[in-house]
């Protein structure tokens, strides 16, 4: 899959933040942009990003494998990442995890058969005042969760 013109335009905007001789600095945002478009990062996509930034493919792969929010395998249309760290744990994130597992019929790092949902366990997201919480597709944060609220959020998602 080739990078779309839209993604390239977004990557170009990121490049303006750095000196022209430091194109590598844009690799994190470039990988994020490509993942947002394609759902995950294939080896081919990572190589294309590297080529575009004129850096070795291994330099981009190294970044993609180091940071938790990049997906190196396909995930569902909606990736739900639940924080279970201490502040969320104290506010019963376990109840939210159990509810999601039961409702979706999957555990952590699994995807529903229809390809709609993937469940992930996350580390601290820096929003602990709103615990328990999860984010969807790395972008949409949902706080102060209860099982009822989880149901409403899932019902509100497009098919």
């Amino acid at each position: 899959m080739s990078l779309s013109a839209e993604s390239l335009a977004k990557i170009d905007r990121e490049l303006t933040k750095y000196p022209p001789e430091h194109r590598q600095a844009a690799v994190m945002s470039a990988l994020r942009i490509v993942q947002a478009e394609q759902g995950w990062l294939s080896k081919d996509s990572i190589t294309e990003v590297a080529d575009y930034l004129r850096i070795p493919a291994i330099a981009a792969l190294e970044v993609a494998t180091f940071y938790n929010m990049y997906e190196l395998e396909p995930v569902g249309k909606y990736k739900i990442t639940v924080c279970t760290n201490i502040s969320c744990m104290l506010r019963d994130s376990e109840e939210i995890v159990n509810h999601l597992e039961k409702k979706l019929g999957i555990g952590f790092n699994e995807t529903t058969a229809d390809g709609r949902f993937t469940l992930k366990e996350g580390e601290c997201m820096g929003c602990c005042g709103g615990a328990p919480l999860f984010h969807i597709n790395n972008t949409d944060m949902h706080e102060y969760l209860t099982p009822d609220k989880v149901d409403k959020i899932l019902e509100g998602l497009d098919k």
């Binding site: 590598q24 994190m28 190294e62 997201m125 929003c127 005042g129 949409d140």
Partner: protein, 436 residues
């Protein structure tokens, strides 16, 4: 003042459209930047006010900000950089998020003042990966500031130039460490650098760089407006100014509370609505898991400032107060924290990479009912052998909860090992609880 809060960094909270430029300007925003730049106030004068203010690094290390600023080389033939650390990933820390989503312009003004003072031409604000919506709010604020002439070239008709950009992290606790953060800005794995050289001589792209926490920069415009002395007087000796405490866990009203340094623990807990469900206080981690846990009896009489928490046996850290009630199992809580440090160790230093995994496996074994009493000494031994033997402070951070949990709650760990289940869940109380 809101209740007993003193809003310096969260000045726009409660205003309509708090993140907008119009709101900030209405409250006197950007007037200090304009004054300093147009009157060509000397860098030495600005730094001496910051020193006088008693402002210490709000990211957790507590290093005096004015002193840090004085480390930047005055004359350098090339670009100097300014970096803001909004990569708060220490569990229980969520204060900088509220600054960028409710009061982004005060951070921008604070950074611009620092850039003017230190001669930095370009700045980056590195924002925690999981808070995308807040990153977008900050990006929008940057656009507004550029259009209004507070960022860019020849600001206020002078020769002062400053460009500021937002950088988005993507899920790595280690990038809160300043040299890992710099590596990440450069588009690399977030592995901390050996120090020295410090960022002031070799930072972003190898150039002199000043790195401060979000709350530190955001305090600067207030200090410039009211003077360093006034800021110092908001707090107590060795802890000038206000501090945002992020309060999470077992309280009625979790959230951020900006208060004068030196507030009593009880007063702060009361602001957050007290312990939830009418339960008793068991323990508090006062500054995030890299600071030692305190039993209720040790923190109940403490004041919330650098010296006060040090006297109580812990430290202020980033002011991330995690409150635990009487139903909390300390063994299971430590297991979760240990997993976090294991997961987030960058893998560069052997003691941390191997030690954090070892610690996690031993605690998991205890929780699974397979523990031995010798495990407690083993845990202490492994933790002590990580501490002080790594490039960065993550190793010490991983050791602190293990050492402090076992020290403060040893009977609970022994009970778990002997019975194969939690003392708390068995309803056995041996730990004195002090606060109702």
């Amino acid at each position: 003042m809101t209740g007993t809060q003193t809003l310096v960094c969260l000045r726009t909270v409660g205003q309509e459209d708090p993140a907008s430029l119009a709101t900030y300007v209405k409250l006197g925003g950007y007037a200090q930047l304009r004054r300093l730049v147009t009157e060509q106030v000397k860098a030495t004068e600005i730094i001496s006010q910051v020193k006088l203010s008693g402002l210490r690094g709000r990211g957790g290390a507590g290093f005096p900000t004015g002193l840090k600023w004085s480390f930047m080389p005055r004359y350098f033939d090339g670009t100097k950089y300014l970096v803001c650390n909004t990569d708060e990933g220490e569990p229980g820390t969520f204060k900088d998020r509220d600054i960028i989503r409710y009061n982004p312009h005060q951070l921008i003004e604070g950074m611009a003042i620092a850039a003017y003072t230190l001669g930095a031409r370009v700045g980056y604000n590195y924002i925690h990966g999981e808070i995308w919506q807040d990153y977008e709010i900050f990006e929008a604020a940057l656009d507004e500031a550029r259009q209004a002439g507070y960022l860019g070239e020849n600001l206020f008709g002078t020769s002062f130039n400053f460009d500021l950009y937002a950088v988005h992290g993507y899920g790595a606790y280690i990038c809160g460490e300043e040299t890992a953060l710099i590596e990440s800005i450069e588009g690399k794995k977030g592995q901390p650098r050996f120090k020295p050289p410090f960022p002031a001589s070799y930072g972003v792209f190898g150039k002199p760089t000043n790195v401060n926490n979000t709350e530190s920069y955001t305090s600067i415009p207030w200090i410039m407006e009211h003077g360093g002395q006034a800021f110092q007087e908001l707090g107590v000796a060795n802890s000038g100014g206000t501090k945002i405490f992020s309060i999470s866990g077992h309280v009625e009203k979790p959230g951020n509370y900006e208060v004068n340094m030196g507030i009593s623990f009880v007063e702060l807990l009361t602001l957050a609505g007290g312990v939830w469900k009418g339960r008793q206080l068991k323990a508090v981690i006062p500054g995030g898991p890299s600071t030692a846990v305190l039993p209720a009896s040790a923190i109940i009489g403490a004041t919330m400032d650098y010296d006060g928490l040090s006297k109580a046996g812990s430290s202020l850290g980033a002011g991330s107060m995690i409150v635990m009630d009487e139903t909390t199992c300390m063994v299971k809580t430590l297991k979760r924290l240990s997993y976090f440090f294991f997961e987030e160790s960058c893998g560069q230093c052997t003691p941390c990479r191997e030690g954090t995994g070892w610690i996690y496996r031993v605690i998991k074994r205890i929780v699974d009912g397979q523990g031995k009493l010798e495990d407690l000494d083993l845990l202490t031994d492994v933790s002590s052998n990580i501490s002080g033997r790594t490039i960065c402070a993550l190793g010490d951070a991983a050791a602190t909860p293990v050492l402090s949990f076992i020290k403060q709650f040893r009977p609970e760990f022994e009970y778990y090992i002997q019975h194969g289940r939690s003392m708390v869940e068995d309803g056995v109380v041996v730990q004195e609880v002090a606060y109702a």
